[in-house]
């Protein structure tokens, strides 16, 4: 799980162009949206693309997406459970 979390942090930084942030600065339990990393709605769409392209997981339900993209840890747990 730790490896997947590290991989996700690196992919999120690359996919969302978070150039000022290092993987170690992202707490896996820190909220990705709102007060956490401060991501916006376009970033949410990019995360959906990332899940589909890199993990072959489609997220089409908005309510489910909100839960999956809460934190890096919830993303990793969802990938593990669905791949």
């Amino acid at each position: 799980m730790d490896e997947l979390i590290q991989e996700l942090k690196e992919k999120i930084i690359a996919q969302l162009n978070l150039e000022d942030i290092e993987p170690d600065e992202i707490d896996a339990t820190q909220p990705l949206f709102g007060d956490g990393l401060g991501l916006d709605s376009i970033d949410a769409l990019e995360l959906i693309v990332l899940m589909e392209r890199d993990y072959n997981i489609k997220i089409s339900d908005a309510a489910e997406g909100r839960k999956v993209f809460s934190t890096v840890k919830t993303m990793a747990e969802y990938i593990k459970a669905n791949s």
């Binding site: 969302l16 162009n17 970033d43 990019e46 693309v49 392209r53």
Partner: protein
Amino acid sequence: MEIINYCSIQKGEIANANGIIYSFEDSKLNSFLKSYYKQKKILYPKFYKMDAQCKLAFIASEVLFENFNREDYNDEEIAMVFSNSESTLATDMEYWESAQSIASPALFVYTLPNIMMGEIAIRNKIKGENLFFIAEDFDSDLLLQQTELVFLYSPAKVAVVGWVNYENEEKYQARLFLVSKTGDGKLFNKMNIEKLNKE
């Protein structure tokens, strides 16, 4: 109409109304603008998410607004009149390539040229009139005429006016004017626009 400030960005150099204020040995746009962003210690993480043309418009606006008393104007009193020839062609192509597999939403939002004004508006809380024109070349008559109309028919008291055009990492140009509706300093007229364009 009076020119309050001016910014030109091209060939690895940034100039304002007083002359060149920054130059970088690598004239490739992304590395050049990133170096200016870091040197000025601008803190706006969204900068990194912008496409090259928006970065160009954004940095030009930062230079224009550097000594501007933003608090003297309501949000609706600042307008924007922009023009270019490429629209968003470079990003359109990039988006088209991404769409061959899974289209990128982050690229898609940069496939309309008025996104440049949107980014500047978000950064500076501007809610005034905004207009964007696609023209073959920098057209001072068009910009003058449209700026006059904006001042005549909207609450705007100042306007960001000019040209932001990106073809590729080596060929790009921003020429923005910060123009006041009133004032008798350096007039915003064809002669002064073209004179600054040649400098």
